[in-house]
Amino acid sequence: MAPTALQEKLNGLVNSMFAEGLLDEQFQQLQMLQDGSNPGFVAEVVTLFCEDSERILAELTKLMDQAVVDYSKVDAYVHQLKGSSSSVGAQNVKLACIQFRQFCEDNNKEGCMRALNVVKHEYYHLRSKFETMLHLENRIQAYETKQQS
């Protein structure tokens, strides 16, 4: 497929993510940071984000499974996740984290469980989109390098 078509597809995907509210302007900023000198920036950050998030989510799941939940720990992790998601511009994940922290403050276990599920759900939803996006980007880059060579 032509690179322009791929690019259009990528743009369409990102646009739809914006429109759905999955991403906010922070992601645009990220995109703007990516230029010739720093070609894989978005991909790098996104991968970093995914790794980080998965680690945090695993920790959170472990914490929440315990009989006595250590809310301060949970809160710290959620804060981290919130920070990284807002850096990436993952709006929905961020909002879910805010909700989560609220429940944490109230020491509301049920709420926390629910919020954790929401966060997970939002995250996986976003990850699938990101995966598609990265895949497209890889292809575009592969194409470009092919052309250059």
Binding site: M1, Q29, H125, H135, R139
Partner: protein, 975 residues
Amino acid sequence: MVAGMAAAGGRRRWWLNRTAMVVVWVVVSVGIWVGLHWYIRTVSMRKAEEALESMCEERARMLQDQFAVSVNHVHALAILVSTFHYRKQPSAIDQETFAFYTAKTAFERPLLNGVAYAQRVVHSERGKFESQQGWTIKTMKQEPSPVQDEYAPVIFSQETVSYIEALDMMSGEEDRENILRARATGKAVLTNPFRLLGSNHLGVVLTFPVYHAGLPADATVEQRVKATAGYLGGAFDVESLVENLLRQLAGNQDIMVNVYDVTNISEPLIMYGPQNPDGFMPLSHVSMLDFGDPFRKHQMVCRYSQKPPIPLSAITTPSGVFVICMLAGYILYAAWTRYDNVREDCRKMEELKVQAEAADVAKSQFLATVSHEIRTPMNGVLGMLDMLLDTDLNLTQKDYAQTAQICGKALIALINEVLDRAKIEAGKLEIEAVPFELRSILDDVLSLFSSKSREKGIELAVFVSHKVPEIVTGDPGRFRQIITNLVGNSVKFTEHGHIFVQVHLIENSNKVMDAKVDTDLNGCLSDMMVPSDGTFNTLSGLEAADRRNSWENFKLLLSDEMPQSDKCKSGMPCSKDSSNVTLMVSVEDTGIGIPLQAQDRVFTPFMQADSSTSRNYGGTGIGLSISKCLVELMGGQINFISRPNVGSTFTFTAVFQRCKKIAGGDPKRTLSESLPTKGMKALLVDARPVRSAVTRYHLQRLGITVEVASTIKMTLNALSEQNGCLRSGKHPYILLIEKDSWTPGMDVYLHDQLLEWKQCGQIPEVPKVILLVTSESDKAKVGSFVDTVIMKPLRASTVAACLQHALGMGKQGRKEMPNGPAFLHSLLAGKNILVVDDNKVNLRVAAGALKKYGAKVECAESGKDALSLLQLPHKFDACFMDVQMPEMDGFEATRQIRLMESKANEQNKCGEADEGSERAEWHLPILAMTADVIQATYEECMKCGMDDYVSKPFEEQQLYQAVARFLLSKPNSDL
């Protein structure tokens, strides 16, 4: 199981208990019956007794009276005898006279069947007396009397008792005793009752003494005996006396009467009545009788002949009470039973309710879970399909894959809707309250539908009133969902024409409506106003369902808000006191409309206008019902006006809070300020006022002043007239032309004209010509001489991008404005910057951002690492520090750094004296990075020695400001 048995046992006991209660109640009722009956009987018996007593006394009294009358008569006879027999000489009375007189006066003595007079004769005088009378004295047995001390021969007698003449009364035991007592007492005396001769009735003999004259009243017994002349006697027929008496009285039949002589109390002698008394024995009354003989005592005994009847009331009254008791008992019993039944039913209902609620919750949870579980793999499916579509597929394969993708998307959309619906039903949907930018949300929604609207060639436009605050607090996601839903419907059902989203304050639009009504009343113009050329004053020129949205109204709204917006600009407080903003959003389309018969069930879930709709257009019909729920959750209302084949206008209101300014400065600059287009002027060529207003709205958001002309010729005229002022204006002039006005040939003409003017020096440079088009096909038709083409729908960001592109703004603008990215680049290039953040992602992003501007970035993942890197002397020019970090947070790290610095500075000062060092004081600019931009955090940052802060996802704008302040000022101070 056990509990069930216990319950059953309890119920049985309870039943027993109830039966016992019934028995007790019946027994008590019977007791009441008996008691009442007994009481009434007693009362009636007492009454009977009283009646008996009074009757008995009455009879006794009458008997006594009658007797006394008779005795008095005998007394009178005695006087008569004493007067006419002894006082007269010779005697005036003989047997004949006496008999005659007594016979004639017998009616006065009805009780005496006869009277007789016996003379007292002493034995010495017997011979003389016998010779005088001519008969000898005989005893009662008709024999000549034996010799006695004295005799009492009867000399006068009534004819009825003539057989006793010449009989010696003293020869009878009873009579003799009587005579002796009579003459001793001087009063009438009575004998014991005995059978009378002749009548064989029970009777008594009454004896009355007759004295010679001259007996004193208080004479002694001897004197009386001596003065005795004779005796008057009469036989009382007591039986007939009482019989007569009783016959005269009422109640004769009911009462049995016995009269007794009770002189000898132990041996009462019967005077009247049956020998063996019968009748009702238990109840009797005894009345004493006084017949004037002090020696004798008599009494009357009365009783009822029959037992007095039990009164009817003694049966009926208790029976009545009994019945009442039974009824009352039954009522209580029934009420109790009913109460128990109801309670039991209620308990069952309660159980059912709990079950139903549980089922409902389970249903919602099931829906949510299932939807969620479907959604997750579906995302994978869709992503893979996306990727599949990117690979080299032949046409058929591509078609299949695309179909699968479309279906998958539809499924996801449906699941999301069902999930929403379930959430709303479960009441779990909560409306958030976060500040958001209304206009950018609307822009986003528009962009979502931009490709579709372009395909169809529909005008899609949004207009937000100036009065609507930039930022409001509410639920952006839900607001977006409603708008997306309504616009999505409109796009789906509209083939040509326009879709127009408007947002106004409700007070405003109401005011305009009122004004409109006034004009309607005055002229009735608006409804009659069908334009002659068949176009309407709407966005696309097609008729809209809701005439209220016509240009007239729109103009009013615009004119109404103009002065208001001026006020805002001049710094006047334009926000009202109330913290709530009620927005009125309308989505107008010129689609197929909703059939009249379906209009009332549009908001019912899963109900589409008609079943053919889903065949033609797809969808489930759940969207509007969700929108309605959401609008209601936001405190608003939704309704619509629709005319088939004309279009529909959905209008809803929603309540938001005014957003208070975020402390520590406004992180989000208004769009117009951040863009280099501010202050530019543009000329818009558009024949349609509504459309031009919309375009103007978008351009004004970018800070561009807009003038409107309806045709290109007018534009040219305006240009040529204004060129004087134009020369002075330094901003490039933009010519925006709607594609309607862009007739073929016009482009060449326009271009030539403009070029000519430029050469003549009339205008400083040729204005940029920008064409506004709605569909892809239009884009193709555009000829040369157009600098750029903006595709509708208009969005502030796209317009800005296009303008920048067209004007080549990049190079020009940045030079003039100190806050461009290039400026930032120049500031940061070559600078060493330390970024401290525990979050790798954040770290990477921040580093990336700074690197982009040429800075050399080093990273530290904790406060401690940062401290070790910042040991003096160090090479860093600035430090970005995350506030919240484990172990050592940003505040603490900053404090430590400052401590280090101050120590170093003091040392420096000491050394400065001799060295005269050129080194300035150590002061590393430390900028906090924080996600929460609240005042408290800001203050704490300042307190611990930070210089400024940037909000965490980096924003170019803020970064400029912060960095510029420190990196710019520092070289200055150094210089």
